[in-house]
């Protein structure tokens, strides 16, 4: 350090090894590409989404065939709400995939490799969320549109309005994708596949099942609340303009907004914990 400076300016001493691979700044787009590779290269994606598609088609068309065989008496409704029966099992597939998207990384230890490669945990979670959301939204939109078209063609009922069409296709696709995001958040919080899937299936089914057995008059209020706000009821509400069971409660897009609110809380919690927790 105290040696006199050489006459000509020399480059800084490059101690160590210099790679010939150019350093280019990585950003969210690179994380998205990475997450896309991850989600398309595991079999669980193909299985869960494949099962979802099959169930939506089989159940949607099956219910429509039965309704049409019975003379298509749908009351005042169009044929679109028939899509609900495929959506319920589809939601279980989406829950599974959503949880696995992140919990499988914890199960295999891949999460350490992932976060070593991308230390910005928010970027990892954002990339996962975006890729997963777009994938589920696209697939369910295509399938729900196909099923809705078939149902309307098969069953003689009231002609659906444009708003009903939008909710039965874009609405259901958004609903499932947001439900999947909530599952992903629970997967990030619980960090265990079986545990997180159990939590989500419980959340999906238990309120409704519990409400079924609330015979005591003292529990009437609780029963109504559970019926109105359980996830399957929200899916039905999405198809209808009026609250489907009681006088009040969400109807139409409101059902989706409630789920978005819950998902925002869940995903926010996942961001907070992922950023502060040891891996």
């Amino acid at each position: 350090m105290t040696a006199p400076l050489p006459p000509a300016p020399t480059p800084p001493p490059s101690y160590g090894y210099v790679s010939p691979i150019p350093v280019r700044r990585a950003h969210l787009g690179d994380a998205l590409a990475s997450e896309w590779t991850k989600i398309r290269s595991v079999r669980s994606t193909v299985w869960t989404l494949g099962t979802m598609v099959v169930l939506m088609l089989l159940i949607g068309l099956g219910v429509a065939a039965i309704a049409s065989g019975q003379g298509g008496n749908m009351g005042e409704e169009s044929a679109l709400p028939l899509g609900f029966f495929g959506m319920l099992p589809a939601s279980i597939c989406v829950i599974t995939l959503g949880v696995l998207t992140i919990s499988s990384e914890y199960g295999t230890g891949m999460i350490r490799t992932t976060l070593t490669a991308c230390p910005s945990r928010s970027r990892v979670l954002t990339a996962k969320a975006v890729v997963f959301f777009l994938l589920v939204f696209t697939v369910t939109l295509i399938v729900s549109f196909a099923v809705a078209t078939a149902q309307v063609a098969m069953v003689e009922a009231a002609e659906p309005t444009a708003a009903e069409w939008a909710r039965a296709t874009v609405g259901t696709a958004l609903f499932l994708a947001v439900l999947g995001l909530l599952s992903m958040a629970i997967g990030a919080l619980v960090r265990h596949s079986a545990g997180a899937i159990t939590v989500m299936i419980g959340l999906l089914l238990l309120p409704l099942v519990a409400a079924l057995f609330m015979f005591a008059p003292a529990l009437k209020g609780l029963q109504e609340a559970l019926f109105t706000y359980s996830l399957p009821s929200q899916m039905i509400a999405l198809y209808s303009d009026r609250p489907p069971f009681t006088e009040s409660g969400p109807a139409g897009w409101e059902a989706l907004f409630i789920l978005v609110g819950v998902a925002v809380v869940g995903v926010g919690g996942a961001y907070a914990l992922l950023n502060n927790r040891d891996v």
């Binding site: 790679s19 700044r25 290269s41 990384e105 991308c118 910005s120 040891d278």
Partner: protein, 330 residues
């Protein structure tokens, strides 16, 4: 260059890593040695920002790990061999890592070739043997062609061929001017590969020294003698100013002399010798003595006290060879 400054990690009341400060310098292999549970893996996880330190900092080339946008180009790490998704092919496991750091896709093929996994590139990694998994982990560490490489117990569970391969790879990487930081709980392994040594026990720094210094300070050389005329031999040795220490089974150990001197002395007094051999205490022994107070899980019973290991354990030892620590064992 990696710099640790007062790095501390506490889990409740238990201190896993206790005010660790040291530097890992480029162009050499730095061995990170400590008994099981000494805090090696915890330290390495904190270096990679996977675990948050209770206090203290780690800097990679002057920056915190989280400030690196494409860390794989600065630092590659093998933490544990199975830190990959088993359902994904080796190629795709590496591809998603490459993409997240903007590393060109052709590099995936290059590193697979480098570690010899090209033939199984499209196979699911869960079917891989331990050695193949380790190679895949090393491929992921080399993906960004980084200047710094960290290996956590890289030879664990490998066969001799695999161990040999990893040793030579680390030496080749260090000779290119890279910083190599490798952890192990085996002194003998470190003696064969490392240029510099950092020893920790119960999270505390016990030694930060060059390998050569460590060997010089810790390997005692002595001559072992055995004779049926033990009493006369002891008298002769005493008369000539040698201090003999009895080490059981009628053998004597004499420090600070050579076999030639003692052989000629015995011949001059017409003493029969059954054994006359040069011995060197193993570095493993020195390491065990250094960490004796810091070993977390002691085995109790007849196996002996790790604080006082037998002077010359049976079986082949690299330290007992004439060539010393530079000989390749395999």
């Amino acid at each position: 260059m990696i710099e640790l400054e007062g790095l501390t990690k506490r889990y409740g009341t238990k201190t896993a890593v206790d005010h660790l400060s040291f530097q890992v310098r480029p162009g050499m292999i730095t061995g990170f040695l400590g008994p099981n549970g000494a805090g090696k893996s915890t330290t390495m996880r904190m270096m990679l920002d996977l675990d948050n330190p209770t206090s203290g900092t780690v800097r990679i080339d002057g920056r915190h790990y989280r400030e690196l946008d494409e860390p794989l180009k600065y630092i590659g790490a093998l933490l544990d061999a199975k830190a990959m998704h088993g359902g994904r092919s080796a190629y795709n496991n590496l591809l998603c890592l490459a993409q997240s750091n903007r590393i060109p896709e052709r590099r995936v093929g290059e590193v697979l070739d480098l570690v010899g996994l090209t033939a199984v590139a499209r196979k699911k990694s869960k079917g891989f043997s331990l050695g193949m998994g380790q190679r895949l982990g090393i491929a992921s560490a080399l993906l960004g062609d980084p200047e710094i490489l960290m290996f956590d117990e890289p030879v664990n569970g490998l066969d001799p061929e695999g161990i040999h391969w990893i040793r030579n790879l680390m030496k080749a990487l260090a000779s290119e001017g890279r910083t190599i930081f490798v952890s192990s709980h085996l002194m003998s392994e470190m003696a064969l590969t490392a240029d510099h040594l950092i020893v920790i026990g119960q999270g505390k720094l016990l030694a930060d020294t060059s390998m050569a210094d460590f060997i010089r300070q810790n390997s005692r050389s002595f001559v072992r003698l055995r004779s049926p005329q033990r009493e006369r031999l002891l008298d002769v040795l005493h008369e000539n100013g040698f201090v003999a220490v009895e080490s059981g089974n009628g053998t004597l150990e004499i420090d600070g002399t050579t076999t030639e001197a003692l052989g000629e002395l015995a011949a001059a007094h017409q003493l029969v010798l059954h054994e006359l051999s040069a011995q060197q205490a193993s570095l493993e022994e020195a390491f065990m003595q250094m960490t004796a107070g810091a070993v977390e899980y002691h085995a109790h019973g007849g196996a002996g006290d790790p604080g006082a290991p037998p002077a010359a354990p049976p079986g082949p030892q690299w330290g007992a060879r004439a060539g010393g620590p530079t000989t390749e064992e395999l």
